[in-house]
Amino acid sequence: MSAVTLYGLCGAILVGMGLFGLIVHPEPLRKILAFNLIGGGVFLLFGAVARRGAAAGFGGDPVPQALVITGIVVAFSATALAVALLLRLFQEIGRATLRSDG
């Protein structure tokens, strides 16, 4: 199994782990962490795809690499907005939960 396939499989495993964390943890902050995990897995898959596309003297296909950079930045801004929302919600109701029982 080549290194590239190994990292692609790692990406798949990360996606699964993140999905598990998303389903199992009720706290929004954990869900946000889980999203970042899934995102990391998806980007790793993109990276494996890029490495497979090494040609023309480059170590990897530059297009997916650039897309991953864009994706990392966008994922960070999503995390920041979600965290800000969560902190503000916590300020208002004293609990960091989406349960509507109070």
Binding site: A3, Y7, G8, G11, A12, I13, V15, G16, M17, L19, F20, I23, V24, P26, E27, L29, L33, N36, G40, F43, L44, L45, G47, A48, V49, R51, R52, G53, A54, A55, A56, F58, G60, D61, P62, V63, Q65, A66, L67, V68, I69, T70, I72, V73, V74, F76, S77, A78, T79, A80, L81, V83, A84, L85, L86, R88, F90, G94, R95, T97
Partner: protein, 293 residues
Amino acid sequence: MAARDTFAAVVSFVAYGLLLALVWVRLAAPDVALTEAAIGSGVTGGLLLAASTRLRRTETPAAREKPGATLRLAAAILCTLASAGLAAIVLLLPEPAPTLAPQAAANLAATGLGNPVTAVLMAYRAIDTLLETVVLLLALVGTWSLAPDRFWGGSPGPRHHADPDGVLTFVAQLLVPIGILVGIHIFWVGSVAPGGEFQGATILAAMWILAMMAGLVGAPSVSRRWLRLVLVAGPAVFISIGLAGFAMASAFLAYPESHPKLLILTIEVPVTLSIATTLALLVAGPPERGAQQ
């Protein structure tokens, strides 16, 4: 204890981010490695650590909400199947792999750049980068919108006072100038080597955050004109040069055949400053102090 669980989770997250950066180096993607190390673990880690500290008090009640064993088992089975399915698909991807590397290489000379990833970001798919700067800005507007009305126009975050004998102040005074130089260098070198505006901007943002936390500079008030102009300058210059492309090179975001690199750099400088400011303010959060304080 539950309270330490989330903190431990965030610390593991930062470590995982650094591990990912190493993986990216192995995947021959140094630009992505720099970005992942800077944003993925650095800035995001800082954001999540600060959040987990503030939310620490909520941990024990939330622990009662943990789902039962059956749900965990069902979720575990589902996720294992999902991973397995995804892995199978990855193994089924065609050989030889389709790639755009030859096309990217062939057109590289026309952009005047040496780094193909920068060429994709700033030339071939510049519209994605342009929209992305707007996405960042909107995330900031959204974060700011969460402030209560009475704090609008104020500064984000609690007031940090510089402790002249403190370790944080000392480290910050040492690191920040070095970090700024490193950030500028990584940005500058990105046209021909791994690096570029996002990586450089993140380092600059991280230095600003460090300086704010150590109390060396105060967080700016969100209504200051200069702040707004810096935030807007990047996308604005990007769009202007893009529109000028209609006259100079017959298409939006096209560069003329003579000195394209100059134009790209002209876009990159304000974009780097805008992104650095946006990232730092995203970590700082919505205004929490009134304008008078």
